[in-house]
Amino acid sequence: MILEAQGVIKRFGGLVAVDDVSFGVREREVFGIIGPNGAGKTTLFNVITGFYKPEKGRIIFQGVDITGKKPNEIARIGLTRTWQIVKPFLGMKVLDNVLVPIYVKRGILRGISEREAIERAEEILEFVGLSHRRDFLAETLPQGERKRLEIARALATEPKLLMLDEPAGGLTPTEMDEVMEVVRKVRESGVTVIVIEHNMRVVTGICERIMVLNFGKKIAEGTPEDVARNEEVIKAYLGERFHVGG
């Protein structure tokens, strides 16, 4: 197991956003986390990556207890996340967006030479298909490209485990395919991936195993096929349909 969460509880006032969730992610797999809106998926991400402190439970990454560590420390040991609402460094060039994590990882005062750093950044941009945007300001990119820049920036931290928060959310089908392609390539390069995703096409397309959350609780775990047949999962999703009216 590259990542293990043990009995994680996160409360906001009276609301239990993450309720005693335990799961493990194997090395080099793509692990999906799904669930209706407000199920606690993003909160769980925030707990794992150090943005929230859990009330209870432990997070073990590569055998090391990282519970309560700061987000930047967690990123530097190889666990990096992206954001559901993408947060590119809008006022900076695409290349600089990717350079910042490279500097942080490889040394600001010494270490990697500027030429090497730029070469690495260019490789990563090539990898996600953004080479042609190298010198554009991030704010000029359309949504689909921003999502890929977000992944590029996370990859620049040289993660062992990449956590993607709805990488295909709000995208057109074509853009979605591009992002899925990138995720597959990331995985092939030896990086473990956790994905939060709403879109079932994306989930079944890239995930080997899935965990389902509802009201902060884990209600199922298994292959996409197993999970799709799970009664409780069907009920949870039907319930959501009923409430949302869709």
Partner: protein, 317 residues
Amino acid sequence: MLGITGDLALRIAKYYALAFILLLPLPLAGDYVTHLAIMIMLYSITAASLDILVGYTGRLSLGHAAFYAIGAYTSTLLSMNLGVSPWVGILAGGMLASLFGLVLGIPSLKLRGPYLAISTLGFGVIVQLMLINLDWLTRGPLGIPGIPPLPGGPLDLRSKFSFYYVALMLTSVAVYTLHMISRSRIGKVLMSIREDEDAALSVGVNVPLFKVLAFIISTFFAGLSGGLYAHYIRYISPAMSALSESISILSMTIIGGFGTLTGPLMGAAMLTILQELLRPYLEYRYLIYGALIVIVMKFFPSGIYGFVQFLSRKVRG
């Protein structure tokens, strides 16, 4: 080193060299113009130093003049009471200002927006009150006259003519250094914090460390320029730390165009000259000054330099 290629360092250095050469004959225009130019240069260092904090890191300060004053008082007191050379005193002033920058930077880490603005404002007010009330050290509200001039070997640095060249050299070096920092790896990391703290954290940036570093860098240069001012004007008073001074410096940085480093230099020049031009209209001076700030901020929010860049892009197509 630090992520600046030799190429870039050289290209920017060329601009500075060109400006340096163009500014060489300026003292021929007489003492009045020379004095004005020196004041513009001193403000340039301060406004540019503030840009590291405001424009690059996204941290507002309404108390920057305090660091300018700390630099000035440190150098003055060291040279007058302990006989330290003003050159060393100025450096010490920068360092002490930096130390105070650290003192202000750490507790204000979590503050944003107006919370940070008022805390830094409060810091400026407290420094001013200290300078007024610790009169056994600072001689209180009357200030300190008779500060020794900079020793210049064969040059008499009491004359505006010679001081101008010293100031020109030091300003070039100081502002060029700030420019290099802004383009360095540190500069880019600071910008990532300005753009989005959480995103910066999530890719491994030690945000608190770099916020404090921005304070240290910025206040060091403000302190330097305060020390230079003290040995140029040779009189200092607690008014140097007044809120109006901090606002003046901030106006230069922002009206000039923050986050560009070139903008604050233009802002320092323009606002200093404007103040002079408005001098005959004594009463209406601040009416016009205030109106100008309102107009620029409403219609040219990225400042004068931003507007110039916009125009030049238009012209080039």
